[in-house]
Amino acid sequence: MPSTTQLTWRQRLSRWDVRVSPYLYVAPFFVLFLLVGMFPLLYTGWVSVHDWSLLGGKGDFVGVDNYTKVFGDQYFWVALRNTVSIFLLSSVPQVLLALVVAGLLDNELRGKVLWRMSVLVPFVVAPAAVALIFGNLFGDKYGLVNAVLGVVGIDPVRWHVDTLASHVAIASMVNWRWTGYNALILLASMQAVPRDLYESAALDGAGRVRQFLSVTIPMIRPTLIFVVITSTIGGLQIFTEPRLFDNVGLGGSDRQWQTVTLYLWELGWRIRDLGTASAVAWLLFGFITAFALLNLVLGRRLSHLHGHAHGRGLGRRRR
């Protein structure tokens, strides 16, 4: 008799173990993630409807006043324009160039691994360092870019003064750091394209460029869409590059290159108005969500292959 009771006790323990363990394993993640990830994001909405100073803390409930204030501030619209402009200048050329590089890497190269590693070198340089280096390369007075332009007879560009020029300089930082990374993602999906598709295209008389456009690109479209979505989410939050483009860090004397996240930071930590800064955070959050959902819907429509749910997330979270 004692042996059987012991057995059932064990069985009961074992059953309890099976039932409870999975929850114990996922619990640390969910507790921590909700606490430091989701909760702050949602609580931003609560802060945004109050007077809330960096030093004085929470004040009166003000309804949508902070939002009205943001919409009435011309610098918000300037920041939104700058963000979209820098984003377009960085994502479009980047994806195109990454496609070309991936196409080049998708060959029987000698020293395959070495080539792949080589294109990834810029990814190792932190955005802060990239911003400092490019801030110098695009110097108005002694910069290398202007020196090179001078050799071909072009007048020096005022990279830190003119709006579009500053956007080009900042976008080139993003392009430089991420093109190789995206090329590798695209390469991975290119390698999954069945080789006999190329053979039959070649039999039909398609040259290499034609094969690339008519076989490769349609086949990797889901990954391509995925790359665009993730670069959207990251690109619209861009902060480090514009912040460190000059030594003042506010995005230029007329906010020529102030992005929305930089605007948010200035409101919160320079003007010390966390309430209004929170309103900006939520507006940007809504903007990004809408953009990502739109992409997702389009992506679902276009892709029939299995979903490529991530990839850029690896190193992308913050910039």
Binding site: W115, G249, A292, G313
Partner: protein, 272 residues
């Protein structure tokens, strides 16, 4: 594609790689000259002999040792924590059956795209209330786990562990945690290494949150870099020498583990 590449392919790739290396090389060129030479009308094109003296100035200007050790601590702790907790959760999602697992996993995937960075303001208020602002804890705690890590480990472990192996271990009388420890952990090692590597790099290169949470007296490497540039007059020989110095640790890591990094990025792209 035709599988035999010609000179054109190698030529174009070489051009791209040189373009990729150029800014880093340029940083070294400027960082190895005196500031007088840097500010001439024609910029120097080859390195000078002042890199070490500039490096010494970097260490004099900001507390670079402290910055390096802070970055090392923060990145290591976050990488270890992400690997541990995300392997644990990823394993549960990949191999264990429990009520609610599907909706919970959908939640994880959905949050992959959520820009949690936009929660900085409450995060800052929270850290201030806890009295953690200014300490490394403020930088470490927000990155103890990542949704991506759970997703990544789940994707890997689904195929990496045969169900029979888990059942066999159970039949042999292993408790659940022993199965995790003796079956899942060994199988997870390759993916865990990649996840750890990426987390380390992401935390090392992060700027936004450390800039908000840490004071000038307790910087990470990226914050120290910013301090080098923050004066009224920018001494680029100093600043770019610092940029090179800050990159050296990751370059070393890259030389040692670049192969895994490449594999991780490419795996991440296909396995999703």
């Amino acid at each position: 594609m035709t599988r035999r590449p010609g000179f054109l392919v190698y030529g174009l790739l070489t051009a791209f790689v040189l373009g990729s290396a150029m800014p880093l090389w340029w940083s070294f060129v400027i960082g190895s000259h005196t500031k007088e030479i840097v500010n001439r009308d024609t910029p120097p094109l080859v390195p000078g002999g002042h890199f070490l003296s500039n490096a010494a100035r970097v260490f004099d200007t900001v507390d670079f040792w402290k910055a390096l050790s802070n970055s090392l601590i923060v990145s290591t702790v976050c990488a270890a924590s992400v690997v541990f907790f995300c392997t644990l959760a990823g394993y549960a999602f990949a191999k264990l059956r429990f009520r609610g697992s599907t909706p919970l996993m959908v939640f994880v995937v959905a949050t992959l795209a959520v820009p949690t960075q936009l929660g900085v303001i409450p995060l800052f208020i929270l850290m201030a209330d806890l009295g953690w602002t200014g300490t490394l804890a403020a930088v470490i705690v927000p990155t103890l786990v990542t949704a991506f890590g759970v997703f990544f480990m789940r994707q890997y472990l689904v195929d990496a562990i045969p169900d029979e192996l888990i059942e066999a271990a159970r039949v042999d009388g292993c408790s659940m945690i022993r199965v995790f420890w003796n079956v899942a952990v060994p199988a997870a090692r390759p993916a865990a290494a990649i996840l750890g590597l990426f987390t380390f790099m992401t935390v090392w290169t992060d700027f936004f949150w450390p800039m908000i949470a840490l004071p000038a007296s307790n910087p990470t490497v990226q914050i120290a870099l910013q301090q080098l540039q923050s004066g009224y007059y920018v001494d680029y020989a100093l600043v770019l020498c610092g940029a090179v110095l800050s990159t050296i640790p990751l370059l070393v890591l890259f030389v040692l583990t670049g192969r895994q990094l490449v594999a991780g990025i490419m795996q991440g792209a296909v396995k999703g």
